[in-house]
Symmetry: C2
Subunit: 337 residues, 2 copies
Amino acid sequence: MDEMFSIGVDLGGTNLRIASYAGGVDFLDTILVPTRLAEGRERVVRDMCEAIQALATKDYGSRRLTGIGIGTPGPLELPEGILRNPPNLPGWDGFDLRQAIESTLGRSVEIDGDANVAALAEQKFGAGQTHNVKSLCMLTLGTGVGNGLILNEHIWHGSTGMGGEGGHIIVQDVDGAACGCGGFGCLEQYASAPAIVRMAHELMGSAAPATSHDIALLAAEGDPQCRLIFEKVGHALAIALTGLINTLNLPLYIIGGGVCEAWDLFAPVMFRELQLRSYVYRLTAPEILQPTQLERHKTYILGAQLGPSAGLLGACLLPLQQKSGSSQLLEDPLVHQ
Amino acid sequence: MDEMFSIGVDLGGTNLRIASYAGGVDFLDTILVPTRLAEGRERVVRDMCEAIQALATKDYGSRRLTGIGIGTPGPLELPEGILRNPPNLPGWDGFDLRQAIESTLGRSVEIDGDANVAALAEQKFGAGQTHNVKSLCMLTLGTGVGNGLILNEHIWHGSTGMGGEGGHIIVQDVDGAACGCGGFGCLEQYASAPAIVRMAHELMGSAAPATSHDIALLAAEGDPQCRLIFEKVGHALAIALTGLINTLNLPLYIIGGGVCEAWDLFAPVMFRELQLRSYVYRLTAPEILQPTQLERHKTYILGAQLGPSAGLLGACLLPLQQKSGSSQLLEDPLVHQ
């Protein structure tokens, strides 16, 4: 049997990252190009497909291309692969991304939400692998709050592909901040990088630092107002996690994204509030919050392990996930092909 | 092959209901005895086991007993079957219910949370069967707010059996009412029968009716304060359902329990708020809320179909669910036996 490789794409609002992959956590080759949103979605798809073709035709010895995976900002309607009013891809509402890519490439692709594939990568090669956990929930605190749900080693898509939108759990019922999703009071408005900047402005006016990174630096130096912002982040995370933990009772919740640099600033309030708010957490809270080995019957909340490449790695894993049974990875013919 | 029957127990805070069962929605025989909590948990277990024995030794022709299922108030730690500080069974904290029953009966039993088994029954023989839906989330608005999650035809237990505690999703962050779970602001404090009575007292003082049923009657007659109470119920349900819908994206959410008699009082606000709050709901909301046939790619919120017997029916189904493949129901030998 020939060896295989896959190609993955991480479609971001700023950059397109494309990689070839043959297992493990490293890529064979990667390509980085800007996402030229201003030139229209067809241009972005063409750029993407050119990079895919460049990797597809590379010489990897006896390795044969087994499939192509695309991670995209959502909401994404599955199995069709149609974008529904995606906040980070303005003008792409109703765009049949799968069809556009497949007709350009002349072959089928696997497509999924960017937070879903990042969670898949964390389960296969990050915290899930380290701790031997088959089900986990990942929250990514970045420009938005992404969420991916892995149940029994598979992405939980829900009935239309829109499962794992936990960034839009309501954490503030009254006077909640307006959210890009059209709702208000969503977790995303209290735990993303732009939310941290907004909360700092609300509290400090023009004296507020311009980035969440700078706010975190000031907080780490002891600035009481900046510290308060991250306590609000921890509080909001606890409200959302209470719902997730009480409903799903998973062994592991992972928090990733750039805001995690401020873990020490938001985590103490998060854990304290979880003890107060979630009785499932209280019944299953571990004595050691960050152990080297997880205990059975406990609930853990840990930082992500893979960093920003999780999304690209997950996209590469996507075509390998459509088959049943992990032993068949890299061996089966591509579904739909 | 001989035909089979199972025995189910619905362990409630007031009554013990025990039934023999051979398929469909009807029971062979049922026994109702009071739950003598005041006389101690051993007495309750003895009463339960005597009733089970009475049904186990009945003459059902060629039918052979295939297993015994127990639905109990939770939280229940699984697979052990140990109760963890159950609010509706005072004094039962740490009680190994499975072991107590199994040692009394001299045989193994299947044990699960009461809301979980009710949801299972609704999926197999209620709204799930009517509409051919394999995954659903059920909320039961009664003395508390029970929750059961059925994913791909199986109860989602989570890692310690405490999945499906969605009654304790936080719907009011600030000044939330204290909950029996130890937290505050939980859905249960805004959508259960006692919560309706409490909210009426907060609003109307001593003029408030004494039961949620009477408050519903007054609201139906147009009393503005009583109507407001049920608008709060609808609002709280929308906040919790927003989290569930955005995270799980299931095709069907079922609301059951006695408070559902007031469906017409709380549902309009619930649906209106869901449109505002949950973008996954907004993208998938059906045009006809209560159709005879569900559309693909839509999210439905319907009333439960089975009524108060769902828990007992689900307990009877429990021993038939441990095998893989529904075609093997009533045929396989009991697991663990």
